[in-house]
């Protein structure tokens, strides 16, 4: 609860002690600054997982990356682990699109366009859900597990950490959608919507980094 709420007239009727009128010393508002700082922390968490990835890939010598499957190499056959680069590209396009629809939802709210807001949030949630389902499908058919070499561990760690963030973002979007349908948020009061959307953009940007590092490079 920020002091902003204390100043609200809704509380003026309440008897008892009152805090004084607050003073803002920044143009940025609490929730927006707060979510950006939180995402800074999140980015560093991804950073620690990327560190583990690069240790396994760079600090440990390999002939090729992805490495040869050790069980086949023992029989003298050189077969690399395979990553579905094209499928992941399609997934990337889906997630990037969802960032645009999310942005559309916020703009619609600011223009007081309720149906645009609901449509934008629904589309974003659907695209996010599609991404997550394709990711799960990919896990089931990829042909190696987190226990297969440090390669498998780091692959699942990075995509899995990202997947958890998609899930959290999707939950936040769903709550925002429910609230939009119930008529909450106002063009002048949209932080409750903006915070999940900023989080969603972060999830999206982070996926691009994961995709480029893990699948493309």
């Amino acid at each position: 609860m920020s002091t902003a709420a204390h100043a609200d007239d809704a509380h003026a009727a309440h008897d008892g002690e009152h805090p004084p009128e607050p003073h803002y010393s920044s143009k940025v508002e609490h929730p927006i600054l707060g979510i950006y700082l939180f995402l800074g922390s999140e980015a560093m968490l991804f950073g620690s997982f990327f560190a583990a990835y690069f240790f396994a890939r760079v600090a440990v010598p390999h002939e090729v990356w992805p490495p040869y499957r050790p069980e086949l190499l023992a029989e003298g056959i050189q077969v690399q682990y395979h990553l579905p680069v094209f499928l992941a590209l399609i997934n990337t396009i889906i997630l990037v699109t969802s960032s645009f629809t999310a942005h559309w939802a916020v703009q619609a709210l600011k223009a007081n366009n309720r149906s645009g807001l609901i449509a934008g949030l629904s589309l974003t949630s659907l695209l996010g859900l599609t991404f997550l389902l394709i990711q799960i499908r990919e896990y089931m058919r990829i042909g190696f597990s987190p226990r297969d070499e440090a390669f498998g561990s780091t692959f699942y760690a990075l995509t899995g950490l990202h997947g958890i963030h998609v899930f959290v973002g999707l939950s936040l979007l769903t709550f925002a959608l429910i609230r939009s349908i119930r008529g909450h948020y106002r063009p002048a009061h949209h932080h409750g919507l903006e915070v999940p959307i900023i989080y969603w953009h972060f999830v999206d940007v982070m996926w691009i980094v994961v995709y480029v590092t893990v699948y493309v490079l």
Partner: protein, 650 residues
């Protein structure tokens, strides 16, 4: 984050408060008392159910169960206590309660034992909780010194000794030094910047309650089969993955403590950036606020790395992944890199707030402006940046890439520059000052002298050749205790004595305070100075037994540490008795200038009747007519009026 949404909601529906249900369903200890076992049951059923239906053997796997328990039971407990109530209502779009300030402030001692959103209550909760864990961890140190008083085995077996060492260090770092500064900052910073509270009071309350959970998880590791985790507070792979189940308690406990500290840091940053009083520019902030600003930035950026390191370790252990498993292409030294990328900045997380406290105390009690105020602030920022570039100096003998050694040595030695600026500025602040040797001042002066010793042995350890000789010896133990006890803990005592009158409205006993200081100062040096010597002679640390040639020095160390322990009891006695019956302190017993001393002791529920107006720097002692801030909408005095008001002849 929740605030504005809650606000919107108030606009949208003007919901009446929910009718009071039966007491069992009202947030509080009663609800927590049945939610805790309930969530324990849920966690157990979840794990065994999934394992049973997937035909995984064994169905009862203690490793997995411990993870589930340490995640789900705290959440259930917190839910019972009501830490999530507001967000749960908000997130589901149900009517939230209007903010009626009922969970704000303390009217009786009971209010300190519930989810309270007042930063002053949370500050006291933090300080008392952390001192509780300080005493427990100190007791473990006493056990260790008792064992080490003589060669051979006396009281504990080697494994038990390793457990004591590990839990002692973990509690001291994650449950005392890091969070006690969050507590002092919580109490003082909103007052210092002229704000009514922190930016996110509900998040603040949640951050506090995560802390005792972390502490209980870590202490509970003693109850598990195989004894407490014993791989040190650094918990290196692969040793950690081969330890008994209790090692998970370190990994999970650190996650809770880390989450608490990240959320508090975020709160501090938003508060300092957006809630400063009019006129409070960054160059007028007290140095304690600067110190917490830089510390919080460090916490936000570095703490996720220890979270990452423990997540990876946890997966290696529970899911049998291969991040640090050499046989399957993992990189074992990678754990140390990730760990120290947090844990070296953590050294500054444990020191910078202390630098801030000492700056306040030295300036106030020598009645002089801080020497080089801007450079003092900028050197904090320099330490923040350099602090991220030195982590591998903990790994000179680890077998890491050898080309890393020289760059890391150079950056390590570079940190002596901003730190040196601070030490010389403190000395210059004292120079020709009117020094009052009150208890907080004694601790601050003790800090400067002890920290210089720790800093100098740090420079020695930062150079590769000396480090290779002294790695894993008592030289390192001596160094860490000179910087973390002689450094951080001395500043903590300085801060507690300094703000005790503000927090309680009463004075502590000056006589007992001085006894506490001198006993600690002498016994601390008796306990730790000789360890430099035995360390250079090659006595290894973290070992229960040692060569009889070191027997006399160790006996001396042990005697010193017992006196040190006894002196802490003096502190606890002083605090408790003075809190109840101490002489009533005025609003400003130290005649200090910063804003927290302009309001009553303890401050009123919302700190101020009107937001103060800041008109000058925080340390203008001895400057005729200088004011830092004015209260109650008072007109800013002219220079001449200021002279007249302060009675300074001109």
């Amino acid at each position: 984050m929740s605030t504005h949404a809650g606000l919107e909601h108030a606009h949208a529906t003007h919901a009446p408060p929910p009718p009071a249900g039966p007491r069992l369903r009202q947030a509080g200890w009663l609800k927590a008392a049945w939610w805790t076992p309930l969530s324990f049951g849920i966690a157990t059923a979840l794990v065994t159910g999934i394992r049973w239906s997937a035909h995984w053997n064994p169905v009862w796997d203690l490793d997995v169960l411990l993870v589930a328990w340490t995640v789900i039971v705290p959440l259930g407990f917190l839910h019972g206590l009501g830490a999530f109530d507001y967000w749960l209502y908000w997130i589901s779009g149900r009517p939230t309660r209007l903010e009626d300030h009922s969970d704000h402030g303390a009217n009786s001692w009971r209010d300190y034992f519930r989810v309270n959103t007042d930063h002053k209550v949370i500050g006291v909760q933090y300080v008392v909780t952390t001192i509780f864990f300080f005493l427990i961890a100190g007791l473990m140190a006493m056990f260790m010194r008792a064992e080490l008083a003589r060669p051979d085995s006396q009281f504990v077996d080697p494994n038990g000794f390793n457990g004591l060492t590990s839990v002692h260090a973990t509690l001291m770092i994650f449950l005392f030094v890091v969070p006690v500064f969050a507590g002092l900052g919580n109490y003082v910073i909103p007052l210092m910047i002229g704000a009514t509270d922190m930016a996110f009071p509900k998040l603040n309350a949640l951050s506090y309650w995560l802390l005792p959970i972390a502490g209980l998880i870590i202490v509970a590791s003693f109850l598990l089969p195989g004894g407490a985790f014993s791989a040190g507070w650094t918990n290196y792979a692969p040793l950690a993955t081969q330890q008994p189940d209790s090692n998970l308690m370190f990994q999970m406990g650190v996650q809770w403590a880390g989450a608490s500290s990240i959320l508090t840091a975020l709160n501090f940053l938003v508060t300092i950036i957006t809630m400063r009083a009019p006129g409070m520019t960054f160059w007028r902030l007290p140095l304690l606020v600067w110190a917490n600003f830089t510390t919080s930035t460090l916490v936000i950026l570095a703490t996720p790395f220890i979270a990452g390191s423990q997540f990876l370790l946890l997966m290696d252990r529970v899911m049998h992944t291969n991040f640090f498993e050499v046989a399957a292409g993992g990189y074992v030294v990678g754990y140390q890199h990730i760990f120290w990328f947090y844990s070296h900045p953590a050294v500054y997380i444990m020191l910078l707030p202390g630098f801030g406290i000492v700056s306040e105390v030295l300036s106030t009690f020598s009645r002089k402006p801080i020497f080089g105020y801007r450079l003092m602030a900028l050197s904090l920022v320099a330490i923040l940046i350099l602090g991220f570039s030195v982590w591998a100096h903990h790994m000179f003998v680890s077998g890491m890439a050898s080309w890393l050694r020289i760059p890391m040595m150079v950056t390590t030695l570079l940190i002596a520059v901003p730190t040196g600026i601070k030490v010389f500025s403190w000395l210059a602040t004292l120079w020709e000052g009117k020094i009052h040797f009150k208890t907080p001042m004694l601790w601050a002066l003790g800090f400067v002298s002890m920290f210089v010793i720790g800093g100098l042995s740090g420079i020695m350890l930062g150079s590769v050749p000396v480090d290779q000789h002294t790695s894993d010896t008592y030289f390192v133990v001596a160094h860490i205790h000179y910087v973390l006890f002689g450094g951080s803990v001395f500043t903590i005592f300085a801060g507690i004595y300094y703000w005790f009158p503000k927090m309680t409205g009463r004075m502590y006993s000056e006589t007992l305070g001085k006894w506490h200081f001198w006993l600690t100062m002498v016994s601390f040096n008796v306990a730790f100075f000789a360890q430099h010597w035995v360390g250079l002679q090659g006595m290894p640390r973290r070992v229960a037994d040692y060569d009889p040639v070191f027997a006399d020095w160790n006996m001396l160390s042990s005697i010193g540490s017992f006196v040190l322990g006894a002196s802490t009891l003096l502190f606890v006695y002083n605090m408790i008795v003075s809190w109840r019956t101490g002489e009533v302190a005025g609003s400003n017993p130290w005649r200090a200038l910063t804003i927290e001393w302009l309001v009553s002791s303890p401050p009123s529920k919302f700190n101020f009747d009107d937001i103060p107006q800041v008109v000058g720097g925080p340390y203008e002692y001895g400057v005729p007519g200088a004011r830092h801030a004015v209260l109650n909408g008072a007109r800013v005095l002219t220079r001449e009026e200021g002279h007249a008001a302060s009675g300074v002849p001109h």
